[in-house]
Symmetry: C2
Subunit: 284 residues, 2 copies
């Protein structure tokens, strides 16, 4: 492991996720630096000792000092950031990200990246319904999954470094998926569920039922409070897998609707039994 030689960590984009990484890594004794175009975020984080150094200027010298770089920007601007800044990065540095979609990001970054740098993708499956470094909190990692998403271009060394990063950040579980496996999985467990929560809220105006919502309804729609800039990017970048999952789901809703319409009570019960069996696997 290269932990001794990876003392200087640079976080690019100091929002909720970047700030949460910074808090965990600072506490672990890393020399944490950050870049963010928002001057207030940098000043706040320095004052709170979330980072040791920071800069809001594009051509910061911090890029040259980092042994490893965590890109915590919105998914749509990761490739562009690498393109515009890689000439300043220290030779041999490991670069990782926090992006929720992998195929459209990983291959492009690896294609354009300098030979002496290595990009190893990761997805910390954690979040909150609030934004900014002010709300950052590495406790969000405790019950969450961290997924390392290597390609054939990655070295064993970088993969191990990235897995170890997930562990020291405090994630409950660290696993490895290919970019395609990751994107198919995330379309189902995360993006489809966010679409459902939005559709439940936007499908018709039910203000008068607010008083009667129980736990189930609140659980189901908690994620309807959604960051439209980030999630519209994620949806469109993962278009094909998400559309596939939406189609499966809508077809199934129509099938259940048909069973109700035609009073097919036995088939309806069969669906519910299957649902109960499958859901029970999640509690193991």
């Amino acid at each position: 492991m290269e932990w001794i030689n990876q003392k200087n960590v640079l976080i690019v984009g100091l929002g909720l996720m970047g700030g949460s990484y910074a808090r965990a890594l600072s506490r672990l004794g890393f020399h944490v630096m950050a870049l963010d175009k928002n001057k207030e975020s940098i000043l706040f984080a320095k004052q709170q000792h979330i980072i040791e150094e920071g800069d809001w200027k594009e051509d910061s010298v911090l890029l040259e000092q980092a042994d490893s770089i965590i890109i915590a920007l919105y998914p749509g601007i990761v490739v562009k950031w690498v393109q515009e800044h890689q000439d300043k990065i220290k030779s041999g540095a490991f670069i990782t990200d926090v992006t929720g979609v992998k195929e459209p990001v990983v291959y492009k970054v690896q294609e354009i990246l300098r030979e002496d740098l290595e990009f190893i993708a990761a997805h910390p499956m954690a979040g909150r319904e609030v934004y900014g470094v002010e709300n950052s909190d590495d406790k969000i990692f405790r019950d969450a999954n961290y997924i390392v998403v290597p390609t054939e271009k990655n070295t064993r060394e970088a993969i191990l470094w990235c897995e170890n990063l997930g562990r020291v950040l405090g994630f409950r579980k660290v696993s490895i998926l290919t970019p395609k496996e990751h994107d198919d999985m995330i379309a189902y467990v995360s993006q489809l569920t966010h679409c459902i929560a939005v559709a439940l809220m936007t499908g018709c105006d039910k203000e008068h039922v607010v008083d009667y919502t129980g736990d189930s309804f609140r659980d189901l729609t908690r994620i309807a409070n959604i960051n439209e800039d980030m999630w519209s990017e994620l949806f469109l970048m993962n278009k094909e897998p998400l559309l596939q999952e939406m189609t499966y789901f809508i077809d199934e809703m129509n099938e259940i609707k048909g069973l109700i319409e035609e009073d097919k009570v036995e088939e309806l019960k069969e669906k519910m039994r299957l649902s109960t069996v499958r859901r029970s696997r999640f509690n193991k």
Copy 2:
């Protein structure tokens, strides 16, 4: 209030809900009796002091002793039970229920009921994903809504009695709705969400993603663990309002799918903004 004259409470159907009522009412000093065709449930409840008296025979004398009766049976058999047992009930008794669908139950019961008895419908919006008196627990009422569902046939006295029952049981909020308002509301906040959870589980087999599910996904599918006998009855008894809500929801999912297909990022963001605004009302 008639609390002094309502000392003897009979619970018909001693499952999770009946048992939870029994626990709360026994602790409050009522003389709680129960009928259930399952002998073990009655013996267990007596042994645990959840009830004072109980019977598993159809023609029990307890019917004659009750000042008020809580029917905690499956929705489909409430009318039949009243039809078959009302001749034994003490004159002047109040009868209520716990049924999750109201229009198909309330009007029929009130139509056939003896003149000297009064049926006042209620829906305790509480539950657990486990069954039976062994799992009963009146803590489930604490954060839940209790809805009294009167018709023009109900007296002010019975409505007040039923509201008070909800309060002494420990519900967070007691409110009043008409049968139609109740059934439309429940189709949206409860039945539609259960359909969604089932469809997420049955739409395609995703066993391999179990390891990657986060909190959102688990929250959304907790209710996919579903009692097929009770919920198929509820769905079919509330067919029209539920089909209406399913149609609204499926149409909206198709609309969001169309926006993603055609890269309509601004319209997609607009949906998410509306979703966030509407969801925020729930947190007031």
